[in-house]
Subunit: 356 residues, 2 copies
């Protein structure tokens, strides 16, 4: 057993009354988890405390040099009241690979899982019961040493926040409109695109803001070298159904290895479908569109699970995919994945982890 | 006049007794400056307060998505007790261009300069008098909205910290050893390399740590597309003296437009020297080395002013430059720039700003 001290709140907050108005990432539960790191001492003092502001030295390195990483996952409430996590071991493995790239000392993945279960169990009353709602889980690490020289920090803080969140698409699985980004680049091989670190998201804000102004929900990133190969979208990996082949960009160092992506690949293969992880250029997609072979396109990620793309714009070419409606592969994946996540179906892959 | 409230500390700290042991960026003065931003209200509540920790919501966006920028400059104490800043307007212009790229609302550059002068004057007793020592100034902005969705924040905090710092090279202008980085990439055109945002520095930590392990002080970054054109070094821009031409990489969107770089170009030209801002490949530098045309190489930046490169390693080729000693151009620039900064010489370019 790991030693995680628990200090319960003496002033529980009012839980949201109307679960249909939860939104995403603005409401936090009663408790949070903290583990500290100091050079020479290692990770220490795991504890659950009441949610609240932390005192931070304004010279803390995370505020200046962005040495910070995060994860994102969910806890799901089943119909019988059970609480499930979805492949949390994968998130903690990815957290450690983010640590490695960003020069942050790695953590004990069992401690991470055990302490997360304790926190989720303690605040399980906050997990919404409404359909497609869940408890969003945000583990993160920040560099806390107060020093202005650029170097790896000597102290860190790991935290987990919990946020009850509504369905990503309140009115059902709505296909999104995205366009191919032609000015900005999110990441390049040799950089940090394959890990979850703050700078990747900060770099992407400008393109995202410009997309919103034009009524697009996201941009589709191209590679930073040749500016022609498809990378990913906002917080999602991309899949294309081309004829009877499902294609997703290979993990070549500049995109995030999504856990939903991995699960989708495994699931499609278990259904006997052909899935290729390879380079795919925007020209190949446009060509397939013109030939009638672009059947579906969809993004995958923890937040939306499956997000069908109804319109993909590339310069002057506007590709309307599957008539702007969700396609059969996207729908089947969404149904199968969410059924496993919410405990409504068998779990043939062993992806679910029961909290209580 | 701008309205900047001042709350003086009631418990002034002990100033460092031994100015020769200041180091860099670990000691902070008695006060700090804060200005807040809220959507709908703009920047407001400029105030100088005692230095100390700030209360931060753990969901503050800067801790997750790296929406943060900073600047770096210095205050210098002249022999007659005068206090000078060096081209601070350039720093605030660059701060605003960082804001623009990172989707942070821009600030009034006059307010920035006036409030900085007030802070420096208040804490001017902290400016070291020892030779080559100065007061390092760190303005920065962080996104403070507590929300886990990826978007531009609706609230921000601007702060300025002051840190007395010793000479960059305690034993005099020591040429450094650097090597050409071949695995990692710092930035790519379309990304954020031309602004001062945390993520750029976080991305560079790993290469820097590996360089230190091999006893090199820094890496020389190559461009992320062709991996052959020289970019910059750590927190410095690069210059090469090739025959009688001084060459520095052009500002093509992936390197920081350094203020020392700009000053060096202007100064060299005022001396009648030929300076080219253009693309320069590592092969061209190696070729010049073999032909005996690589006379000097040096970095430029606020911290070290001029940092001569004594050894530049590229794969198996070890280039010892000017016999590992500081060259005449580097030395002349260092002497001329520091004489202006510390008020020991005329200021023909109008670069100095007197604080008191
Ligand atoms: C950049 C990026 N790509 C892809 C994903 C999808 O990853 P996952 O399926 O693990 O949520 C995310 C979200 O986590 C992301 O931030
Ligand atoms: C990445 C980078 N390049 C170059 C520089 C040099 O810029 P300046 O001369 O304005 O200090 C710095 C330091 O500010 C820097 O951080």
């Amino acid at each position: 057993m790991y030693d995680v001290k628990v200090e319960r709140t003496s002033a529980p907050k009012q839980k949201p009354l109307d679960e249909s108005k939860l939104g995403f990432g603005t409401i936090f539960t009663d408790h949070m988890l903290m583990i500290e790191y100091d050079k020479g001492q290692g990770w220490h003092d795991a504890r659950i405390v009441p949610y609240g502001p932390i005192a931070m030295d304004p010279a803390a390195m995370c505020l200046h040099y962005g040495q910070e990483i995060f994860e994102g996952m969910k806890a799901y409430r089943g119909d019988d009241g059970s609480v499930y996590l979805f492949r949390p071991q994968e998130n903690f493995k990815r957290l450690n690979s983010s640590c490695e790239r960003m020069c942050i000392p790695q953590m004990d993945e069992e401690l991470l899982l055990e302490s997360l279960k304790m926190l989720v169990e303690l605040d399980s009353g906050w997990i919404p019961a409404a359909k497609d709602s869940s408890l969003y889980i945000r583990p993160f690490i920040i560099a806390t040493e107060p020093k202005l020289g650029v170097k790896s920090s000597d102290s860190y803080l790991y935290m987990v926040l919990l946020s009850p969140s509504g369905p990503y698409y309140p009115s059902g699985l709505d296909p999104v409109k995205i366009y191919v980004e032609q000015s900005y680049v999110r990441s390049v091989r040799g950089g940090t695109g394959m890990v979850k670190t703050g700078g990747n998201y900060a770099a992407a804000l400008k393109a995202q803001d410009e997309a919103h102004e034009q009524d697009y929900s996201q941009v589709l990133w191209l590679d930073g070298v040749e500016r022609k190969y498809i990378e990913e979208v906002g917080a999602m990996n991309m899949f294309f159904v081309l004829g009877d082949e499902v294609v997703t960009p290979a993990l070549l160092g500049s995109i995030l290895p999504g856990i939903t992506r991995k699960s989708v690949i495994e699931m499609l293969r278990s259904w006997g479908m052909k899935v290729s992880e390879r380079r795919i250029s925007i020209d190949e997609v446009a060509e397939a569109y013109k030939n009638g072979q672009l059947k579906e396109a969809f993004g995958t990620g923890t937040a939306a699970v499956i997000s069908p793309v109804g319109e993909l714009k590339h310069g002057d070419l506007v590709m309307t995919i599957n008539g702007g409606k969700i396609g059969p592969v996207s729908q089947r994946l969404y149904d199968a994945l969410t059924a496993i996540q919410w405990g409504r179906a068998e779990d043939p892959f062993g992806w679910r982890v029961k909290v209580k």
